[in-house]
């Protein structure tokens, strides 16, 4: 099941390889079918998922069964390394409460991304092959439970992303693409070394061999005492934690490693921005929750304050930057940085409320930001500009668009009744109840105020009032006597067309529904989050020592 959901896009990619490049429609439809099949599988997995099982670590006895679900475990590579025993790499997939929400999100956003890619005309075949490759890599990252496999998927994302930004992006795309590539590779090469170090430090309790299994690594009793990353090697454990954290923080992106994100977003085509903000950024915080924190819980406990402060900086700094932007897409990109800060803050709280809030915020940020970028794309397609002050009074000419924008904007600023509110509220409840992060939480609340400021201000400037003299569109009086607007070389429907509605309405429904009744998603994650909090708790660490 999980293999299928991971590799469906690649299969579609291979099919596309055989389709002549002139058959653009067939290529698009094959990709869409694969993505829809992924969605169906995600729903089936969701239906078959038992929310009571904890995940994170192995069940009693060291086996992942009874803790993880939909496990697929095959020996992949087994090498004899002489005195170092044997090198065992497994094809090991499985989901728990951390990953199942992300699997659903990835399937959803991938499908919407394909719909959003429909108008792309340049090298359609190459585009969809790369898109499908990216889609497989993302899904693979979320379900891989073997560090080696995770790393392969993690790195596999880079190249397609580089080309998707670099070939189909905006004017400054070369710079943005290579900056993205270099930044993320810089983060992940350290991960490679930590991965090797962990391999030599961890023993699978069942087989007695060294292992790359993340499940075995999440239990501190599986570490060899005097190994390089074993419990006695305090300094190297700190170093490993920090470099892993930086590697994941680059992906989040966390201040001061965030500078690649606005560049990448501004240059990337709309669907790639959607994927980037909707799924890729989550990989950073997912990596922290799956790998970074549970593998080094004592270092995590020691750095809660730092992580909290970094989260607060993200929230406030991101909001300030967003406030200053003239380019709507750049504003959304910075708002994305700001909102990922809530995730970090929730993680730093290190209690169930905060962590649930963080994971729920990851899901909600995925859906809400996807909407924001799609909506930016809608107006950019029509006006060929994203400058906020080139618009004005759009609400009266594009009412449906304005309505959807309002939902998305308000969800983003955390209006009660929409999903963003619940996750942010949980994050603040968690952060406030933890002593380390209490004052950080108080300061971070300011982020909500500034968030409201830039969102409402942009809404007001673009949608309310009257057309500005230098606006990106002309005003015409139609035969019926009403005023219409007209974009210079836009032939399509003025307001949202069917394809755009098909992309946006499901997201809007999800955002509203999860704002009223969050349990379908939140219910999936609670037992895993409780387990994670337990694994990370200082009590467990002292018991081990």
């Amino acid at each position: 099941m999980l293999s299928l959901i991971v590799f469906l896009p690649i299969i579609a990619g291979l099919v596309i390889l055989a389709v002549p490049s002139s058959q653009k429609q067939i290529i698009r439809i094959v990709s869409l079918l694969a993505a829809l099949a992924q969605c169906v599988l995600a729903v089936l997995i969701w239906q078959g998922y038992d929310a009571a099982l904890p995940g994170i670590t192995a069940a009693a006895g060291g086996a992942p069964e009874g803790s993880f679900q939909f496990i697929e475990r095959l020996p992949w590579i087994s090498l004899d390394l002489g005195s170092f025993g044997s090198l065992n790499i497994e094809y090991f997939l499985g989901v728990d409460g951390l990953s199942i929400t992300m699997v659903i999100l990835t399937a959803l956003i991938s499908a919407i991304g394909i719909l959003s890619s429909w108008p792309i005309q340049k090298q359609v075949k190459g585009y969809f092959i790369l898109y499908n490759l990216l889609s497989t890599a993302m899904m693979g990252c979320f379900v891989a439970l073997d560090f080696f496999l995770f790393y392969v998927f993690w790195e596999l994302m880079l190249l397609p992303m580089y080309f998707l930004i670099g070939i189909w992006g905006g004017p400054n795309r070369e710079y943005a693409a290579i900056k993205f590539f270099l930044y993320t590779l810089f983060g992940s090469v350290f991960m490679l070394l930590v991965m090797i170090g962990l391999y030599f430090s961890v023993i699978d309790p069942v087989t007695g061999n060294h292992t790359f299994s993340l499940v075995a690594m999440a239990s501190q009793e599986n570490y060899i005492k005097d190994a390089i990353l074993g419990p006695d090697s305090v300094m190297w454990r700190y170093v490993a934690f920090i470099v892993l954290f930086i590697g994941f923080a680059i992906k989040v992106p966390m201040f001061p490693f965030h500078t690649w994100l606005p560049d990448a977003h501004v240059e990337a085509p709309t669907p790639i921005s959607v994927i980037l903000a909707g799924v890729l950024l989550k990989l950073g915080t997912y990596g922290m929750m799956r790998i970074n924190f549970p593998l080094f819980p004592e270092v995590f406990q020691a750095s809660l304050f730092v992580i909290g402060v970094l989260g607060a900086i993200n929230i406030i700094y991101g909001a300030f930057c967003a406030l200053a932007q003239q380019d709507l897409k750049k504003m959304v990109a910075y708002s994305s940085i700001s909102h990922m800060g809530y995730v970090l803050l929730g993680l730093a709280a290190a209690n169930s409320e905060g962590m649930v809030g963080a994971l729920y915020q990851m899901f909600n940020h995925g859906t809400i930001t996807a909407m924001l970028f799609l909506l930016v794309g809608v107006i950019y397609d029509r006006a060929h500009t994203r400058q906020i002050d080139k618009f004005g009074g759009l609400a009266s000419y594009m009412p449906v668009y304005a309505a959807v924008v309002t939902i998305a904007w308000f969800a983003s600023l955390g209006l009660p009744g929409l999903s963003g509110f619940i996750s942010e509220a949980f994050v603040f409840v968690g952060a406030f109840s933890a002593e380390t992060t209490r004052y950080i939480a108080i300061v971070s609340v300011l982020g909500i105020v500034f968030g409201a400021a830039y969102l409402l201000w942009s809404l007001q400037r673009m949608f309310l009032g009257k057309r500005k003299p230098d606006a990106a569109y002309d005003l015409e009086v139609g035969p019926d006597g009403h005023e219409h607007i007209h974009f210079h070389d836009w032939k399509g429907k003025l307001d949202l067309d069917t394809r755009e509605l098909v992309m946006l309405v499901p997201l809007a429904v999800i955002v509203i529904f999860l704002g009223i009744y969050p349990m379908p998603v939140m219910g999936l994650m609670t037992s895993s989050i409780n387990k994670l909090v337990e694994v990370l708790s200082p009590v467990v660490m002292t018991a081990l020592n």
Binding site: E155, L156, L158, L159, L182, W236
Partner: protein, 511 residues
């Protein structure tokens, strides 16, 4: 003075020679093939290039039939300790024969070589001679034999480098290569003579025993190691013995560049490992030399400088062949990391890395040749827009470059993984080396990606929309190399097992 050997002695000498010949069949076959090619060339008067290439390729392929039975032969010294047959040597026999076949293949692909050279003549014969020389480099256990085999490789390489007689760059490269080569050979011989002076032996096993028995002057040993490293370092193209390589790589016919960058380099590593591991395995603990200075420390310094210098200088290159030359300097550094680990895992990693390097580097040069056939240029600027015009070549080159960077799922990633594993398995002593290794590979990403950047992200200045004219044979060969690069990145167990089995050297005591 000189006593004539007695009849019995002569008989025993002849008996040893006779028994040794049975262990020397692949080398004899290659010598026969070398002469056969010259004869065939005379017969067809240098006109039928493809015939010569086919004979060379088939002849090389036939060598496998002579190498394979050697697995069942007893490991040991032959020809009075001049030469050895062991798993390590067998690995390199396969390696050099495969690289020879690939060299012939890319030579056939190169239109410039086949157009500008009136008579391809002894070109293929020289490639065979070089394969022979490199195999002998990997199998020599005597200082004299080591020197002779290195000179055989060197001399054929000088001639092949200057093969484009009408191209001034080619001649210049050959001359530079010759001058640098002579100097480094001289230095190495001086080092050999110092070793001989200390031990009165030329066989590396006997040298080792002699040194262990009587001890040595650390300073003198340091000097000898340094001088010998100059000779080996020149072959592997590591800093500071690299000065020849950018010019030679740029000037030589591209197939020869490809071949030198893989074959000659690997032969250098083979001889370096055999000499230092067997003859003076005193690197590592306990450091009995002054302030811990010994050849291992020298190797560490060379490896670090090579990785940093090669990767940084490559950033400014505008010519793809030069860019790959600097990248090959950097790769020499990575391979040295595996040797520095100085244990079985390290040797396994080194051998595996060399196998990966063979695939990805020859593959990259293969595409460079195919592109030069179309554009007549190796400049980065002329690669613009080629990704769309030559889809297969573009995709293949991207895969090879990703593999050279060391990203999954390619063989280059597994190579780096093994090398860094070997370092980290030693505990925390070499973590800093691994750190330099990974950080420089981030730098490497930038210049390697310049090539796909030009091929895919930029449009060509002259939009000519003609079809890709690459012959189907080369398309297939290229696709096979590309698929193997990815396949062995996912299912690398056969190659790593092979590398592990091959890490056994005769007379080795360190692991």
């Amino acid at each position: 003075m000189f006593q004539l050997p007695s009849g019995a002695e002569i008989e025993s000498i002849i008996a040893t020679l006779k028994s040794s010949v049975g262990f020397f069949v692949p080398e004899i076959w290659l010598s026969v093939l070398f002469m056969l090619l010259i004869v065939v060339d005379l017969a067809v008067k240098g006109r039928k290039n493809n015939l010569l290439a086919s004979v060379a390729a088939l002849g090389l392929a036939a060598t496998f039939f002579f190498i394979y039975p050697q697995h069942s032969l007893a490991t040991g010294e032959i020809f009075f300790g001049m030469y050895v047959l062991d798993e390590f040597a067998l690995f390199f026999k396969y390696f050099f024969v495969i690289s020879g076949i690939l060299a012939v293949l890319v030579s056939v692909a190169d239109e410039q070589l086949n157009r500008d050279v009136q008579s391809i003549g002894e070109y293929y014969a020289l490639i065979i001679a070089m394969v022979l020389g490199m195999i002998m480099m990997a199998s020599s256990t005597d200082l004299l034999m080591m020197f002779l085999s290195m000179e055989l490789v060197g001399l054929t390489a000088y001639v092949l480098t200057g093969y484009l007689k009408k191209d001034a760059r080619s001649s210049e490269a050959a001359l530079k290569y010759l001058v640098y080569g002579s100097v480094s050979s001289g230095l190495m011989l001086y080092g050999f003579s110092l070793i001989y002076g200390m031990t009165a032996e030329t066989n590396i096993m006997k040298i080792s025993a002699e040194l262990a028995l009587h001890g040595y002057d650390p300073l003198l040993m340091m000097l000898a190691s340094l001088l010998i490293l100059a000779g080996f370092g020149y072959k592997i193209g590591a800093v500071p013995f690299h000065f020849w390589s950018p010019d030679v790589y740029e000037g030589a016919p591209t197939p020869i560049t490809a071949y030198l960058s893989v074959g000659s380099k690997a032969a250098g590593f083979a001889i370096l490992m055999r000499f230092f591991f067997v003859a003076i395995p005193h690197g590592g603990e306990p450091f009995q030399d002054i302030a811990g200075l010994d050849w291992l420390m020298l190797l560490i310094v060379i490896a670090v400088i090579s990785m940093v210098y090669g990767n940084v200088v490559a950033l400014w290159q505008k010519n793809v062949k030069r860019l790959l030359a600097y990248s090959s300097i950097a790769h020499a550094g990575y391979v040295l990391l595996g040797i520095i680990a100085m244990d079985e895992l390290g040797t396994q990693a080194t051998l595996f890395y060399l196998l990966g390097y063979l695939l990805m580097n020859i593959g990259a040069f293969y595409v460079v040749i195919l592109i030069a056939n179309r554009t007549g240029s190796e400049n980065l600027d002329d690669y613009r827009g080629l990704g769309r015009k030559m889809p297969l070549a573009g995709a293949a080159l991207t895969v090879f470059l990703i593999s050279l960077v060391g990203l999954p799922p390619t063989i280059g990633f597994i190579g780096k993984l093994m090398i860094f594993s070997a370092l980290l398995a030693k505990g925390s002593v070499y973590i800093w080396l691994a750190l330099i290794g990974v950080l420089t590979s981030v730098i490497a990403l930038y210049y390697y990606m310049l090539i796909p950047l030009n091929m895919y992200l930029r449009d060509s200045k002259q939009p000519d929309e003609d079809r890709d004219r690459t012959p189907i044979v080369h398309q297939v060969a290229l696709a096979v190399l590309m698929i193997l690069t990815i396949y062995f990145g996912l299912f690398f167990a056969p190659l790593t097992d092979f590398a592990k089995a091959s890490s056994a050297m005769f007379g080795l005591s360190i692991y």
